[in-house]
Symmetry: C2
């Protein structure tokens, strides 16, 4: 069986030309470009909690980095460096010698696409746990924060929401998707696309931003809390796939859309005067951007249905320690 050092040597030692010192010492060393600040975040994926134990390791490698890149996107930062602390069951290494190589491939493929260097980490044994830490750069003072939404901002989302949660609802037998539908929705859950370039461009137009990992209502709620504003959302405006649309208004499916999470799309607010520029940006990047409501000076988050009536929503987002 592979030792810790062999695992690192074989699978996690690609050159990291943008670091002064990469994998292989007590720590890595990096220099920031002049005028830049370091933006840093970490996200953990736990087996049985964030993914099934039999998830394709290639896709898991992608997703482990993607959810972290998504945090960089939400700050408008350019991701540059990553560290990977992976806890691996001995059993897994023994029984599936391909696993770690596939995981590494999925991770590096996405990293290279975004010019991110893996500069260090830790390899330990125990229940499968993947902890990635991501570092990026942003022009000094320019990062997109949760706390800068203004009253009367437009609220926007990128892409469409709910497909990842829809797959989960299918897997948990709360709804029943047809196999062709499942196949179309699976990539949303397994290989989300972080909105890196969109985040970087939004620095010029948005007042606030967050990535949607816990569900639209919970994550928009963070913007509202941090910015001391409220919001009114039009349910019918919230973009979703044709497949999800077919299953509305099933209450579980409404939940997938508004509170499911695992979307890794951006939710952002912007002054109404930037509408045209944002629509141009949408066309330029070929990313659907949809206005779903407005912020308000009065606190509280209200979702209106097509008739203008308030939609009640039991569960506003996914939290790891809800009983």
């Amino acid at each position: 069986m592979l030792s810790e050092f062999e695992i690192i040597r074989q699978y996690f030692s690609q050159a990291s030309p943008t670091a002064r010192l990469g994998v292989g010492d007590d720590a890595a060393i990096i220099s920031l470009s002049p005028g830049k600040e370091l933006v840093v975040s970490t996200d953990t994926l736990v087996s049985g909690q964030h993914f099934l134990a039999d998830t394709d390791p290639l896709k898991l490698g992608h997703k482990s980095l993607a959810v972290n890149l998504s945090d960089m996107a939400a700050m408008g930062a350019s991701p540059r460096w990553a560290m990977l602390a992976i806890t691996l069951p001995r059993q897994l290494l023994k029984e599936n010698s391909q696993w770690i190589g596939e995981f590494s491939k999925g991770f590096y493929t996405l990293a290279q696409k975004h010019h991110v260097a893996l500069i260090g980490g830790d390899t330990t044994s125990g229940p499968l746990n993947i902890c990635v830490q991501i570092m990026g750069e942003v022009d000094h003072g320019k990062a997109l924060l949760r706390s800068k939404a203004q009253p009367n901002d437009d609220i926007w989302i990128s892409g469409s929401l709910g497909d990842a949660a829809l797959v989960l609802a299918h897997q948990q037998q709360r709804i029943q998707l047809q196999s062709v539908e499942l196949e179309k929705c699976l990539p949303a859950l397994l290989t989300p696309i972080p909105r890196i370039e969109l985040g970087q461009q939004l620095i010029n137009y948005a007042n606030s931003a967050i990535d949607i990992s816990d569900g639209l209502l919970a994550d928009l709620g963070h913007i509202l809390d941090c910015s001391d504003v409220g919001a009114i959302i039009n349910f019918n405006a919230v973009a979703c796939s044709d497949i999800l649309q077919n299953y509305l208004p099933h209450p579980d499916v409404i939940n997938c859309l508004l509170a499911g999470g695992d979307d890794y799309e951006l939710c952002f607010t912007a002054s109404t005067i930037n509408r045209l520029e944002i629509e141009r940006l949408s066309a330029k990047l070929s990313i659907q951007l949809t206005r779903i409501g407005k912020t308000t000076a009065i606190k509280g988050l209200t979702v209106l249905d097509s008739g203008g009536n308030e939609l009640t929503q039991e569960k506003k987002g996914y939290e790891h320690f809800y009983t």
Copy 2:
């Protein structure tokens, strides 16, 4: 039971005045001081692997940060910022509501001592897993590397080695310590002291350095591999406690000393012309610094006993994936 956000709010949201933006957004933002590079590392502690499930959470909080600070010490860096990604079993939060508060206290107490700000992290549920990521600063180009040892350097260690492994050997019933001995050795295992100030000072005198986490022979071996040199160590010179000394030459205890690990002392090499300065540094910092051997142009690591004969050593260090 506490939600993820309540845990962060209650236990992990102390102000971080040295960060532009701390806990509470998609990422944290930091600026480096002029002329400095960022030094970054991560270390994970897994329940049942690195600590027993019933370990005092106050001490575990200390150790989780201490082992990471030790990596900064080995680079000669000043630790500045930390992130904590903690995976907690639901059962633990339900059955021991004090646990997370005690852990947080142990973590912050050590952090404050070294002026380290906790600027972010992630809280998830699953088998207990503590992943800390540490960031520090060092003058550009000045970090202590594993790769800069020269032939004919003195090899030094700080403090004494083996007590942590001795406790483990006792717990695994490979040796039997008296209760007063156990009590004296336990802090080495549970609350190691990272050699931060020593590391910073050694920038002026040492050619290479590493912290001893996997055992003296394994970690010194990394310096030798990276620097393309060999070494001869005098077993009798390797500093140990009086308690460990009493149990020599039991083979398991020799192993504790040379290959036990979990010491978090520094092993460094320095030119012989710096001997006097290093001894002065030892007196100034009240830290025992001991010369244990020399590097050689010829590769290989040899340990000599008091008669000048080679000591054979089956196991040269602890590796997580050894079967």
